[in-house]
């Protein structure tokens, strides 16, 4: 039912845990539907190839209550997001995550949607907090 890649990420999840004082947190899912996922990001600045300053994901961690697909999708999402600029990471798509896992069974596709939403929410949380700071 699951690809070896999914089983591998479920068995040995990458970047599992919390980030204390995270710059952004994405909380998605709920207990009623059975999957709950928290994605934590730490943001830093660097200079891109064109010499412009950009913000990127310096560290990312997740915690997930859910099935193998939900855990594997969370793990894969952190792997794909780590080191990417915020703009790139924000564009991570459910299909991209699904492809990277070697495709989830159709009834588990929603797990990749959940983790794609998780990273977006974490980045939005960071942007909102930054906005609040500049507003103050």
């Amino acid at each position: 039912m699951y690809t070896d890649k999914v089983i591998d990420h479920f068995k040995n999840p990458r970047n599992m845990g919390e980030i204390e004082g995270a710059d952004g947190i994405g909380r998605v899912g709920n207990v009623k539907c059975g999957d709950v996922m928290y994605l934590y990001i730490k943001v830093a600045k660097r200079t891109d190839s064109k010499g412009r300053e950009e913000e990127y994901i310096e560290d990312v961690k997740f915690k997930t209550l859910g099935c193998a697909a939900a855990v594997a999708a969370s793990s894969m999402t952190t792997e794909l997001a780590l080191g990417k600029s915020l703009d790139e990471a924000y564009k991570l798509s459910r299909d991209g995550i699904n492809e990277a896992l070697g495709k989830l069974p159709p009834q588990k596709y929603h797990c990749s949607i959940l983790s794609a939403d998780g990273i977006k929410k974490a980045i939005e949380d960071y942007w909102n907090k930054k906005q609040d700071k500049t507003d103050n």
Binding site: M1, K32, G34, V36, K63, L65, C67, K108
Partner: protein, 416 residues
């Protein structure tokens, strides 16, 4: 690594005696309907098997109708009864919310086709159906009541004899009033190894079983059809199975089913101690192997209760000795199953049929189990072949798996 199989409610390991018997049947290749020697030899063997099986149920030879399995037997019982009552204005069927999908989806299908009105009885929080709730649901146009014997997910044992009694009494009144007679069907697929299937005691008209749930082969089951029942065949063709089910008989399967039942009967006969539990709605057939299974279930329960935030789903008193349904808070069922599989231990969530869908079990939901518990439900199902060492191994590895998954969860139990 020695693999441990604790998914016996899904299917059981075939008994070697059953395999040996089936090989014999394959050598009797004649068609039992043929007049020549080859046919008659097969016909005689078929009769012997049917005779023995009728003895097992305490019924007559002509009341055993072989089918391809439990699902077909359930379909024949429900569709066949409804069709036989089609002259009635909007026939009404009563079943429960906790049936196997072979019953539930069949009733829903007939309802969708506009052929019946249906009532689905809700169980109490222990997963038990009350006989009174069946009585209250009976209407003038009720033609069929279908209630399972042993629930495949929780092991809860339903009060079949009491319901049978209520329906029998209701029928006496109904005949006087010129109302249709109610047929009573039970899906007893999870019962034969453990509970008395004396059909006269249970007061059922129709009863389904399947061989592969009792160490027999797949592809064979039967429907007990009480003489005089109004039932239309659903597979038409030849006159096999007393006109209730066409098709050349699956002699090897029938031999396998018969041999599997014979193993049970012999084990009871050879037991140091064997008797039927004297509880009206709990006809447990005590034998050495049943005692063994019951003891292992007790051991498993005490092992599991050492883990915090655990609950047992289903009745403790009226429960199959072979099935235990447990929920772990803050750990997801499929994740637990896969982790146990990595350790060589096979279990399932609610049922094999629901393990590929996302919805929590319809049985647990009907019992009012909250999602935070039902998503973490695991069914352990034992058999006479399960050993104490296997239960020890399970109790040894499970706490670590649950704690690993809980560490991965973003929630704390008190936040759920």
């Amino acid at each position: 690594m020695n693999k441990i199989y604790l998914d016996n409610a899904a299917t059981t390991k075939i008994d070697q005696k059953v395999v040996d018997n089936m090989i014999k049947a394959h050598q009797l290749f004649g068609n039992p309907s043929s007049l020549h020697f080859f046919g008659q030899e097969a016909s005689k063997a078929l009769n012997d098997a049917r005779n023995f099986i009728a003895f097992f149920f305490g019924c007559e030879f002509e009341e055993i109708v072989f089918t391809s399995g439990g699902s077909e037997a359930d379909n024949l019982a429900i569709r066949g009864t409804v069709e036989a009552n089609k002259s009635i204005d909007e026939p009404h069927v009563i079943t429960t919310m906790i049936e196997h999908h072979a019953v539930l989806h069949t009733v829903q299908d007939l309802e969708k086709q506009g052929k019946i009105d249906a009532t689905y009885i809700k169980p109490n929080e222990e997963g038990l159906i009350s006989p009174e709730s069946i009585l209250e649901a009976i209407r003038d146009n009720t033609v069929l009541v279908s209630v399972m014997f042993v629930n495949n997910e929780t092991g809860a044992v339903q009060p079949i004899a009491s319901i049978g009694n209520i329906i029998e009494n209701a029928n006496i009144e109904r005949i006087k009033r010129g109302l249709p007679r109610i047929t009573f069907h039970t899906d007893a697929v999870q019962a034969p190894e453990f509970f008395s299937l004396g059909v006269k005691y249970l007061k059922v008209d129709l009863l389904s079983i399947s061989a592969h749930k009792l160490h027999g082969p797949r592809g064979i089951g039967l429907l007990y059809v009480k003489k005089g029942s109004k039932l239309c065949p659903q597979i038409c063709g030849g006159k096999q199975e007393f006109g209730y089910r066409a098709g050349t008989e699956n002699l090897a399967g029938i031999f396998g089913l018969s041999a599997a039942l014979e193993v049970i009967v012999r084990e009871r006969a050879d037991s140091k101690d064997s008797y039927v539990e004297e509880k009206a709605d709990f006809p447990l057939m005590i034998s050495d192997s049943i005692k063994h299974v019951s003891k292992l279930k007790e051991k498993l329960i005490s092992g599991l209760l050492s883990i915090d935030n655990v609950r047992i789903n289903g009745s403790a008193e009226y429960s199959s000795p072979a099935i235990l349904n447990v929920s772990f808070l803050n750990a997801e069922g499929e994740a637990i199953i896969l982790n146990l599989d990595f350790e060589g231990i096979a279990v399932s969530s609610g049922s094999a049929c629901t393990s590929r869908t996302l919805e929590p079990s319809h049985v647990l939901t009907a019992m009012g189990v909250e999602p935070k518990w039902s998503h973490g439900a695991i069914r352990f199902s034992l058999s006479r072949e399960t050993t104490e060492e296997e239960i020890d191994k399970l109790c040894e590895v499970l706490p670590g798996i649950i704690s690993k998954l809980r560490q991965m969860s973003p929630l704390k139990p008190e936040e759920m």
